[in-house]
């Protein structure tokens, strides 16, 4: 018997689809549960990779903490403290447990917890890649749609070529050229860094840091001259990264759109006499948006990576610069901690986009 059927009730009550609601909720919950388990497995796998990397490092962690002149007793004591005297699988267990509790070790360079340092650097990266993604979406989607409506046209070729150029450009070189042109020659934007040096004191002592993202913090504090200065600093790196993101988004939009425009419902809409503009920008685009969620999420995750090289060019105090600076002094806990965080964000973005995709597309539920 169907669970919604009430014995003795009139027939029309039984036909009300009562169980649909709980079972749909149940299905979503099951999916969320399955996603979370996959997330956990992938995260532990990520930790396993960084753990293996950290164990094959030729640098002895004890020596790098104590220095060359440590006594035997000190070395033994530190080994015990770091848990290095235990079996490897137990060390891995401790490592995973610590990581899940938000402990990624201590930076050798600064002697501070890696997690606290990353928390300080991460907002700058987040701000940069978010702005870049916004730029990429605003330009990339319309460009891709327009290219798809007139395949083979000059516009289509142009979008394709500009996109492929974005795929082929070394991001650090693009940054240097951008600096040379827009900062050095034209003077349209400010140079490296997040703010002019004149604002350093205000930044440190007067500004209430709500989010760590300068554009938001200065706006919330009402510091508009500082806000304008921050904009003039972020606009160049964000536009360059946005270009890369646009290259990817416009290409994918074009191919999804081409696919969609070949569907029968589009023909039906056209035959009905619907204006072409509405067919493309409302009917087709709505369906293209669903797979685009994944694309935008991927490009967002990809920008985190592009940010590593961009940040070194623009002296941007973000996660990428944190990792590369740590690399140069062989500060492995910092490097691997940064790697874990970027990897975790990467996994997180992918999972969220997967969930959004399922929620947005009725066929995938």
């Amino acid at each position: 018997m169907r669970p919604g059927f009430v014995r003795g009730a009139p027939y029309f009550m039984a036909s009300i689809d009562a169980p649909a609601a709980p079972s749909r909720l149940g299905r979503i919950l099951r999916q969320v549960g399955a996603t979370l388990i996959t997330l956990l497995i992938t995260f532990v796998g990520l930790l396993a990779v960084t753990f293996i990397i950290s164990r094959v490092v030729p640098i002895d962690p004890v020596m790098s903490i104590l220095g060359e002149r440590a006594t035997e007793a000190q070395i033994a004591e530190t080994r015990t403290k770091l848990g290095l005297d235990r079996p490897l699988w137990m060390q891995f267990g401790i490592y995973v447990n610590d990581a899940l509790h938000g402990d990624l070790g201590t930076s050798i360079r600064t002697k501070k917890p890696v997690v606290a340092e990353i928390a300080r650097y991460f907002p700058a990266t987040l701000e940069l890649s978010t702005l870049a993604t916004i730029i990429g979406v605003i330009i990339g989607i319309p460009a891709g749609v327009l290219a798809a409506t007139k395949p083979g046209s000059l516009l289509d070729q142009a979008v394709r070529l500009i996109g492929l150029m974005g795929y082929s450009m070394p991001v650090f070189w693009l940054g240097l050229i951008g600096l040379l042109l827009f900062y050095g020659q034209l003077g349209w934007v400010s140079g490296p860094g997040r703010l002019d040096a004149a604002f350093d004191m205000t930044m440190q002592f007067e500004l209430t840091q709500y989010t760590g993202m300068i554009l938001i913090d200065t706006a919330l504090n009402g510091q508009w001259d500082m806000f304008a200065n921050a904009v003039s600093h972020i606009i160049l790196p964000a536009s360059l990264l946005g270009y890369l993101s646009m290259a990817y988004i416009s290409r994918m939009t074009r191919s999804f759109m081409m696919n969609e425009l070949g569907q029968e419902y589009i023909t039906t809409a056209r035959v009905k006499g619907m204006p072409e503009r509405r067919v493309i920008w409302v009917h087709a685009l709505k369906n293209v948006m669903v797979p685009l969620i994944t694309v935008v999420a991927l490009s967002y995750a990809f920008l985190l990576e592009g940010a590593v090289l961009t940040e070194t060019i623009f002296a941007w105090p973000g996660l990428g610069r944190y990792i590369t600076d740590a690399l140069l002094v062989a500060d492995m806990p910092a490097v691997l901690g940064g790697t874990v965080v970027v990897g975790a964000v990467y996994i997180g973005i992918n999972m969220v986009s997967d969930l959004l995709y399922r929620l947005a597309d009725p066929r995938a539920r």
Partner: protein, 305 residues
């Protein structure tokens, strides 16, 4: 093999091929004709061929030595007689260094495409063919590697292994096999239950033989398309590692390294950083244009047409 009264062209266009190799050649010829119609793809092919020729004949084409310093002529601007691309801070001719750098670039690309796709192909076909828990385990591992942003994992690996070209190649290869495994697995799943595989198995072929001789060839076209599209990415990653000082070491004329050296005087002597970047850009654009065209020709499903 060719009947004497036929020209090559007629032999290739024959509607009734008499041998397997003729059919295969005819297929390749048709693909080539389609590729030729795409001007952008032909430009890409031209750039790639030029890169290969440049690297083979670097010692003939280059007017100077790529390593020897000549401090009397340091930082000459482009257009200086004898140095049309200018010189760097050690007075070395930038054009010469770019020519020799093409060898390093091509070498890195070759090493990566000879390792990563092979590993991916093996893992993907094995996972797809056997299915079950083998598939589960292998694909989980693949997913974990996919979860890493490539460059960051490569950075961490190079940090551990130590900087240098071989380690950079190793790091890039370790980070780039997972997509191949995914592609190969997907292709394997489509052919694994087909009749011809069943026929081979009934003849008593073992798993290794089936996978090697009958599954892998089916995966090759998709993998090859991916390889051409990935080559630009390999070049960019290698250049990025070089730029950070983690790849090829000075005084080798690696393009990324040359950009990083030119960074110090970007605003005064712009050409030192710009020229090698232009080389990277042109070469990866070439690979991308060619890969894009090849995909349209070989894989009608994803061409978006």
């Amino acid at each position: 093999m060719i009947a004497p009264n036929l020209t090559w062209n007629q032999w290739l266009r024959d509607q009734n091929p008499t041998s397997r190799s003729q059919a295969r050649m005819a297929q390749a010829y048709l693909s080539w004709l389609r590729l030729k119609r795409n001007p952008l793809a032909m430009i890409g092919l031209g750039i790639t061929v030029a890169l290969i020729l440049m690297s083979i004949f670097a010692n003939v084409l280059a007017p100077y030595d790529p390593i020897t310093q000549n401090l009397a002529e340091r930082l000459q601007p482009p257009g200086t007689p004898g140095h049309w691309m200018g010189t760097d801070d050690f007075g070395r001719d930038i054009w010469t260094r770019i020519l020799y750098g093409s060898r390093i670039t091509l070498y890195i690309v070759l090493l990566v495409i000879l390792t990563a796709p092979v590993v991916g192909l093996i893992i993907g076909t094995v996972a797809g063919y056997f299915g079950g828990w083998i598939d589960q385990v292998l694909m989980r591992i693949t997913d974990i590697f996919l979860a890493f942003p490539k460059l960051i994992l490569a950075l961490a690996l190079v940090a551990v292994l130590g900087p240098g070209m071989v380690n950079a190649v190793l790091a890039i290869a370790i980070t780039s096999w997972p997509p191949y495994a995914r592609v190969a697995r997907a292709e394997t799943l489509t052919v694994r239950n087909s009749d011809y595989i069943a026929a081979v198995r009934l003849q008593g072929a073992g798993a290794v033989r089936v996978i090697w001789g009958h599954v892998m060839p089916m995966c090759l076209p998709s993998v090859i398309i991916r390889v051409t599209l990935d080559m630009a990415g390999v070049i960019l990653t290698a250049a990025g590692l070089g730029f950070l000082g983690l790849g090829v070491q000075p005084p080798q004329p690696e393009w990324g390294l040359m950009i990083s050296a030119g960074r110090k005087f970007l605003f005064e002597q712009w050409w030192v950083a710009t020229m090698p970047g232009l080389a990277i850009f042109v070469v990866s654009l070439g690979f991308n244009l060619m890969g894009d065209g090849l995909r349209d020709v070989l894989d009608p499903r994803s061409s978006g047409r």
